[in-house]
Symmetry: C2
C-alpha cells in the first residue's frame, strides 16, 4: 500500500530537492491555493469553483503519523485506511484480545474506543510568509542560516498562540521557492469506530501489494471528538450511491508525503549510486529478522505481523525508486529536463543563480563523506523511535526547554512539545522483545558502518557486544511503562540526572555525539542544499511560473484524473474494476489469500458483482493512503489505499500511460459494512449524511 511507514521511514532519507520535470497528462499534486481549475475544465469539462475547493479542503484531514483521511458525516465520522489505524487497533489489543486478527466494530457510540496518541489535522488557512522567511535567511550560510530558519520557524508557529487545538506549520514549497504558514484545527481525541480483520484489509499481502487487479477492504473508521462529544464537522463528504464509471473524472484530496521530482541530476546520482544500494540490503536484513521473529510464536506474530507487512511495503517502494533511477531511458529524461532549464536560464542573464547546479554537485561530494555517519547516528530510525527514541526525547527535553523557544531543536519548540508530550505519555504497548531485536540490529549496523575502531562505536559499546548492549538496556529499562515516562517527563533535569535506568543513562551518554553529527550535517549539507534549491526555484519561476506543482511535502494537495485501466508488463490490458466475485475466486484459504470466517459465511448475502477496487490515473504517493476519491459533486466514490507497480517510479516523475492509483470502491465499502459487519448505525449515518 501507499503506506504510513513510507513517510515514517522515508523522511530518514529524504533530501531537499530542486529541478524541473516534463509535464504529463493528469500529473500534479496541487496545493489548494494554486489548483489548475482551468486546465481541468479544458480536459474534463468541469471547473472546480473556489467554494468547491474550500469545501474539499476542509472536509479533508491529515493523520499526523503519515496518512490522509476525511470527514464523511457531520458528526465527526472519519474515513481512512485500515493500515492507517492499525497502530490504534494494536494499541487497544491485548494478548487475549487480538483485534488486529478479529477486527473491531463499535456497535454503539459508547463502544467507540479512544486511540492513544492519534492526531487529525484539518487545514483551515494558508498564509504566504515567503518574504519574511527569505529576509531572515538573506546573506546567511551554513549554521547561521540554519539558526535563522529555526528561529523564524518557531516565531511563525508561535504566532498561532498556545491553544493545543490549533497547529501551525511552516511549509517550504518548491524547496524554498516559497514559504507558507499552514494553520490547522487539531483533533487529538480520536476514537476507533471500525476496523476489519487484517486478512480482509491486507488480502493478498506482500505478493499483491502494489499490484492490480486487487481485492482489499482497506477501510478504517474513526470519530473525532471534542469535549467528550462527537465533533461537529460541518464540512464533510457526502457518499455517492452510484459510485464511479470507467473514464469518469475523479479527484483525490490528501497529503502526499514526499516526491523527488525536482532533484538535480547530481542529487539523483547520489540516491542511485550511494543511498539506495546501501539502504535496500539493510531493509532486507531487518525484514528477515522480523519474519523470523513472528515465526517463533503467536504472541510474537501479534506484536510484529503488521511490522513485517510495512517493512515489505517499504522495501517495494524503495526498490521501485531504485529501478526508476537505474532505467537509463528514464534517467536520460531527467538529464534532458535539467539541460532544458539550464539552457533556458542561460539566456536570461541570471548566471550567478545558475551556479546552483554546480554547487549542488559539490555538495554531493561532501555528502558522500558525511552521510554514512549521519545515517548511522542522527538518521538512525531505531535510535529515534521505540524505547531508545523515547529515552533520547526524555533526556533532551529538560535541556531544550531551558533554551529560548527559537533556539531549540525544532521538535522541542513549545508547539512541537504539545504533540511530543502526547506521544511520550501515551499508554501504548512497547514490546521489549521486539525492542531488543531492533536495537540489536541498530547497534550491529552502526558497528558495521563505522567500524569496530570508531571512537563513537567504542564509546557506545565499551566492553559489550551489540547484542549484549541491546539486551542490557532493554531488560533493565522501565520506560516501556508510560507511568515511568510521565515521571521522568515531569521530573525535569533532576529526574534525568538521578535516574539509573540503563536506557536513560545510555541516551545521556550518546546524546552529545548525536547532536554534533546532526549539526555538522545540517550545516555542511542541508544549508547549502537549501540555498542552491532556492536559487533553482527562482530560476524555475522565471521560466515556468507556478504552472508546475511543487514537490510533495506531506501537506494538503488535490489532484485530478480518470478511472482507467492500464497495460501490464506483458502488454495485456488490465481493466479498472475488480468485484467481490473476483475476491472469492482468488481466496484459496492460504495466507495471504485466506479470507476471515465472517467474509466466508457472508458470501451468499453479498452482491458479488459489486465493484470492489479500482484504478485511476490520479497522481498520488505514500501519505495519500486514506485519501477520499471524489466525483465532481464532491461525493465519495472511493478510498485510496495503494498504487500499481508503475506508480513507484512516481517519486521521480509521473508517467500517465501506466502509473495508477488504487482505491476501494464506495459501493464495496457500504456493502461490506452492511452485509459482512452489520454496522447498520454507521451505514445509516453515512447514507443519510446526518
Amino acid at each position: 500500500m501507499t503506506a504510513k511507514v513510507v513517510v515514517v521511514f522515508a523522511c530518514l532519507f529524504c533530501g531537499v530537492t530542486g529541478g524541473i520535470r516534463s509535464v504529463y497528462a493528469d500529473e500534479g499534486m496541487w496545493t489548494f491555493d494554486n489548483f489548475p481549475a482551468k486546465k481541468v475544465a479544458q480536459k474534463y469539462r468541469f471547473e472546480p469553483s473556489q467554494a468547491w475547493l474550500d469545501h474539499v479542503r476542509t472536509a479533508s484531514l491529515r493523520i499526523a503519523g503519515g496518512c490522509s483521511a476525511s470527514f464523511i458525516s457531520p458528526r465527526g465520522l472519519v474515513m481512512t485506511n485500515y493500515h492507517c489505524v492499525v497502530d490504534c487497533v494494536k494499541a487497544i489489543s491485548t494478548a487475549g484480545r487480538n483485534l488486529v486478527n478479529t477486527g473491531f466494530t463499535a456497535d454503539s457510540a459508547a463502544d467507540e474506543w479512544k486511540c492513544p496518541d492519534f492526531e487529525l489535522d484539518q487545514l483551515t488557512a494558508i498564509r504566504d510568509v515567503t518574504e519574511e522567511v527569505q529576509k531572515s535567511l538573506a546573506g546567511k550560510t551554513g549554521e547561521a542560516a540554519n539558526n535563522a530558519l529555526q528561529a523564524e520557524t518557531a516565531k511563525l508557529q508561535q504566532s498561532c498562540g498556545s491553544d493545543p487545538s490549533i497547529r501551525c506549520d511552516l511549509v517550504s514549497l518548491y524547496h524554498g521557492g516559497s514559504y507558507d504558514l499552514y494553520r490547522y484545527k487539531r483533533y487529538s481525541d480520536v476514537r476507533l469506530v471500525f476496523s476489519p480483520e487484517f486478512d480482509a484489509a491486507f488480502f493478498g499481502g506482500d505478493p499483491d501489494n502494489f499490484n492490480f487487479p486487487r481485492f482489499d477492504f482497506d477501510l478504517g473508521l474513526l470519530r473525532a471528538y471534542e469535549n467528550n462529544q462527537p465533533a461537529a464537522s460541518s464540512d464533510y463528504f457526502r457518499w455517492s450511491r452510484e459510485g464511479s464509471k470507467e473514464g469518469q473524472l475523479v479527484f483525490v484530496s490528501g497529503n502526499p508525503g514526499g516526491t523527488s521530482r525536482e532533484l538535480t541530476v547530481s542529487q539523483l546520482e547520489f540516491e542511485r549510486d550511494k543511498e539506495l544500494p546501501a539502504l535496500l540490503p539493510e531493509i532486507g536484513e531487518y525484514r528477515g529478522m522480523l519474519e523470523e521473529f513472528i515465526a517463533t510464536g503467536p504472541e510474537q506474530a501479534r506484536e510484529a505481523n503488521e511490522n513485517v507487512f510495512f517493512i515489505g511495503n517499504f522495501f517495494k517502494v524503495e526498490s521501485g525508486r531504485q529501478q526508476a533511477l537505474m532505467d537509463p531511458q528514464f534517467f536520460k529524461l531527467k538529464v534532458d529536463e535539467e539541460k532544458r532549464l539550464r539552457d533556458a536560464v542561460g539566456s536570461r542573464s541570471m548566471a550567478s543563480e545558475a551556479k546552483a547546479w554546480d554547487d549542488l554537485a559539490q555538495v554531493q561530494v561532501e555528502r558522500t563523506k558525511l552521510y554514512l555517519r549521519q545515517d548511522a547516528m542522527d538518521g538512525n530510525f531505531f535510535f529515534h523511535s521505540g524505547l531508545l527514541g523515547r529515552a533520547i526525547d526524555l533526556v533532551r527535553i529538560p535541556t531544550e526547554r531551558a533554551k529560548p523557544n527559537g533556539e531549540r531543536l525544532p521538535e522541542y519548540t513549545d508547539q512541537s512539545l504539545v504533540e511530543k508530550k502526547e506521544e511520550l505519555l501515551a499508554s501504548i504497548p512497547l514490546f521489549k522483545d521486539l525492542g531488543e531485536l531492533s536495537l540489536r540490529f541498530a547497534f550491529t549496523n552502526l558497528q558495521r558502518k563505522l567500524g569496530a575502531d570508531d571512537p563513537f562505536v567504542r564509546k557506545m559499546l565499551r566492553n559489550e557486544s551489540p547484542e549484549q548492549l541491546a539486551h542490557r538496556l532493554v531488560s533493565g529499562t522501565h520506560i516501556d511503562d508510560s507511568k515511568e515516562r510521565e515521571r521522568l517527563f515531569n521530573g525535569g533535569l533532576a529526574a534525568i540526572e538521578t535516574s539509573d535506568d540503563p536506557m536513560i543513562r545510555f541516551a545521556v551518554l550518546i546524546d552529545p555525539d548525536l547532536r554534533l553529527v546532526r549539526k555538522e550535517y545540517e550545516a555542511k549539507i542541508d544549508a547549502p542544499t537549501r540555498s542552491a534549491a532556492e536559487r533553482i526555484a527562482k530560476l524555475r519561476f522565471a521560466v515556468y511560473g507556478t504552472s508546475i506543482d511543487p514537490d510533495a511535502t506531506f501537506t494538503a494537495r488535490l489532484n485530478y484524473g480518470a478511472v482507467k485501466g492500464f497495460n501490464d508488463a506483458r502488454g495485456q490490458w488490465v481493466p479498472p474494476y475488480t468485484t467481490f466475485a473476483g475476491l472469492f475466486e482468488r481466496a484459496n484459504g492460504a495466507p495471504p489469500f485466506a479470507l476471515p470466517p465472517r467474509w466466508l459465511s457472508a458470501k451468499s448475502s453479498l452482491s458479488l458483482s459489486t465493484p470492489m477496487n479500482f484504478s485511476t490515473t490520479n497522481d498520488i504517493i505514500g501519505g495519500n493512503s486514506g485519501s477520499p476519491v471524489i466525483d465532481q459533486d464532491a461525493r465519495i466514490v472511493g478510498l485510496i489505499f495503494d498504487g500499481n507497480i508503475y506508480s513507484l517510479g512516481g517519486d521521480y516523475g509521473y508517467d500517465g500511460t501506466s502509473n495508477r492509483a488504487v482505491a476501494v470502491d464506495s459501493r464495496a465499502l457500504l456493502e461490506g459494512l452492511r452485509a459482512i459487519y452489520h454496522l447498520e448505525r454507521v451505514v445509516e449515518e453515512i447514507e443519510s449524511g446526518r
Copy 2:
C-alpha cells in the same frame, strides 16, 4: 574471509566471461603450465624452476567444497583454514559436545576423526584437449552445442577410468580459448586433527572480516588416509622457522574460485544494474532471518552460528563487487580496456570474430528477460541444497542413470556420481528447523519474484502459503536421516515412485519445470555467451598471446607477491605484521572480540612479540582460503585466510596499490599449537618434516 561459501554461493551467479584488462604489478592467478617465471626473476631475482613448480603443484591440494590446502608432512598431514573444516567440526559435534565452540585436538592418531563427505584433490597432470573440444563444438549453436560439450566432457572424464581415487575435470580457460583435462589424485578418507575455538579462528568476527590489521588463528589441520593408514605424501611443504620479512618475495599456491576480469562491458552492466541490486537485499534478508534464528537459543546458535558468519562474509564480498562496478573511474578502466582490444582487433581483419561484443550485448537483453526465473528456480541455492536439494538429487538419479553417460546432466555422469553418492549418503546433521527456515525463505522469494499468479508458483503452492508448504515438507520428511537417503538411493526408480515422503513427492512435482528452465537458459544464454567468449579469447590470443592469466576457475593457480602494508581509506599506512600482543590488546571480552579461556590462561606462556597475521600483495580471491604462503625455498611462511577490503574489487581487476592478501604467520601457527593447544606430536611432525 576468503571463504568457501563464496564459491558455493557465487557459482549461482557466475557467468561465462570474456574481455581484457590492463596489467598491474604482481597481478595474476597463473596456471602451473604457464607460470611467468622470467617475469618473477626480473622483479624479484628468483626464477622458479620446472622442478620447483612441479613440487609446489603436488604439495598443494584442493578441498572439493571450495577451499585450498597443502601437505605439510610426509604422513599426509594437511594444513588449511578453520573455516574450511568447520563443516566437519559441526558434523562431528552434538548438542552436548559443541566442538565449534570448544575446538578439537586429536592427542593421538587414534583420535583423528573422520570427516563425513570430505574430499581432497591433488593435481597430478594437465593435458591440453583444446583441439578435440573445439572440434566437437564446431558449427553448433544453442542446445546442440550444449549437448555436444556435455558429451565430450563425459567422454574425456571417462577416459581416466573408474578408479574412485582418480578424478578428471575438463577445465575451460580463457572462457573457451583453451581446454585442459586436469587429472587429480582424490583423497576421500580425510580426518580431523585439529581445530581451534570459533572465537579464536574468527576473532573480530564480521566487523574485522576483510579488514586489516587482523588477529585470527584461522587454522584447521586434517590428515589424508589411504587404506586406513596415513597417506604417504612425498611432496609436502617444509616449514620455515624464520617466517617472512617485510618486502620478501612470497608465493601463494591455491584454487581461486572465480574472477570476472574478462567480462565485457555489457556483461558488467548486467551485473551492476540487474544482478547485484537484486541479490544484495536478498542476502540481507536471509542474513536477518539467520541472525534472529541464532538469537532464539543455544542449540539454534550451534546449528547456525557459522552460517551467519558465512552469509555476512558473502554479503561483504558481493557489496565489494558492487562498489567496484559502481565506481565510475574503475568502470571507465574496463570500458577503455575493451576499446583498446577492439581497436587492436579492428586492424587485424578478424571482423567476423569482432562481432562477438555485439552478440554479447544482445545476449544481455535476452538474459534480462530470463534471469529472474532462472535464478528463482534452477539457480535457487535453497532448491539445490539442504533437504530439498537432496530430494531432487534422489529423484533425478534413477532417470539420469538410465541414460547414456554423455547425455546425462553433468552432475550425474558416472564420475560425478562417485562424489554425489558420498555427499548424499554422508551422515551429517541436517537440522530441520534451519531447513524449514531456508525453504520458507526460498518459497516466499519465488512467489515474490514470479508473482502469485505465475503457473509454476500456483503449481508449487497449490492451496498452501510458502510457510505452510515449507512446514509440511520439512516436518513430514525422513530424508534428514542418511539411512533413508541410502534406501532411496539404492532403491532406484521404484523406491522413488512408491515413496510417500512429502519432500520426495514435491521434488517429483517440480523437477520437470526446473529442468525446462535450466535447458532454456543454457540454450539461450550460456551457449551464445560461450560462443562469443571463445571468439573474444581468440582475438585476445592474437593480440596479447598468453601473457595474461586466465580468469580463475577453482583450479590450481600460483601467484607471487611481496609482504607489504598499504594505505587505508584515511591515507594512513598500515604495516604488514600484527602480533599476539596486539590480539590481547584488542580482546575486550565481548563477542566477537572475546578470546577463548584457553587463550587467556596461556597468555603468560606465549611469546607476545610473535608475528600473528600479515598482509601481502599476492593476487587471491575466494577459494584461495587455506592456501599455503611459501618462500622461494618452498617453505611455509603463512596460511592465507582473507584479503583486505580493497581485495574485494579484485574480482574485476587487481590494484596492487591497495589490494592485499591476509595470512596467519607460520611462527604464530607453531607457537599457538605448542603453547596454547599443547599439540606437541603435531608440532614435532611439522618441524621435523618426518
